[in-house]
């Protein structure tokens, strides 16, 4: 799998200017054709900072309460990066993606250390870029997510 340029894909998703998380989620909902719920979840998280869980009819992004709003933003964008990247369908034709999807009970699980994997590094770069664009958002109307 050849990963595309992060800059290019960020531009395609939300243009060159600033953005808000609400706008990004709206774009991704349109791409994925299913609701995306951002859910803060209290409890024991260990070394995990966020999860993306996809069901048949919805995608939940779960994250722990964080003191730092910026870090929380980054962790959520990391998971949104996974959603975006998966929507791009980058698998090469010789890889039987469709074969797996047709397999009963097929499930995809990604829980790699963020530094060990090219996909994880891609979504980390996506998260850095998106967090920067969101922080620079100059709208006087607060992002509902950030309230």
């Amino acid at each position: 799998m050849v990963l595309p340029s992060v800059e290019e894909k960020v531009r395609e998703l939300c243009g060159v200017g600033t953005t808000s998380m609400t706008e990004v989620v709206e774009h991704l909902v349109a791409i994925c054709q299913k609701p995306i719920n951002l859910v803060e979840h209290d409890g024991e998280w260990g070394s995990l900072t966020a999860l993306k869980v996809e069901f048949e009819d919805r995608i939940n992004v779960l994250f722990p309460p964080q003191n730092s709003l910026h870090y929380k933003l980054h962790c959520i964008y990391h998971e949104l990066g996974h959603i975006y990247l998966e929507s791009l369908d980058l698998a090469s034709p010789e890889i039987s993606q469709s074969l797996l999807k047709e397999t009963q009970n097929a499930i995809s699980v990604s829980c790699r250390h963020i530094e060990d994997d090219p996909v994880e590094r891609w979504v980390e770069a996506f998260a850095f870029m998106m967090s920067k664009k969101t922080r620079a958002h100059s709208s006087s109307v607060l992002d509902p997510f950030l309230c």
């Binding site: 859910v39 260990g46 995990l48 966020a50 999860l51 699980v109 250390h113």
Partner: protein
């Protein structure tokens, strides 16, 4: 998962079935990790880079538990280590215990299927340990209770 004790004698047929069962578990974990089907060309490539040749027919015997029992220790060791990254004894010694990591991954996949999760990703700052897999299951389970 029940592990056979050394006192239980396995027939040739049972050995073939147990090997196929273990291969099936490893393939399931590999496919969920890689989000794609494990194909023979991938296996062939991984083995040939270690100087091991495997025919498609023999691969089929291994996966389906048919044909003759595959007993080639070097082949089984290389499949375990190079393709699946698990201790070789899991495939070379059919009486051996299931490695804790494999056991944890199997349970995790079972739980995700029960929760009807199709696709899952975690941002993890540490190693993927059995404890982390249990934490993930707990978080997803609890968050779903909140949806009801």
């Amino acid at each position: 998962m029940a592990n056979a004790g050394r006192s239980v004698f396995l027939t040739q047929q049972e050995k073939k079935e147990r090997l196929a069962d273990r291969m099936g578990i490893l393939v399931d974990i590999w496919e969920s990790d890689n989000n794609t089907a494990l194909t023979f060309p991938h296996v062939e490539e991984a083995l040939s880079s270690n100087g091991i040749q495997l025919s498609r027919t023999r691969w089929s015997y291994l996966i389906h538990g048919t044909g003759s029992l595959v007993t080639d220790q070097e082949l089984l060791k290389t499949i375990a280590e190079s393709v699946f990254g698990v201790p070789p004894t899991y495939l070379t010694d059919l009486y051996s215990e299931t490695p804790p990591d494999v056991e944890a991954r199997m349970e995790f996949l079972d739980q995700m299927r029960k929760l009807k999760v199709k696709n899952f990703a975690a941002r993890n700052l540490g190693a993927t340990s059995p404890e982390i897999l249990k934490t993930i299951t707990k978080i997803i389970d609890e968050s779903m209770n909140g949806e009801k």
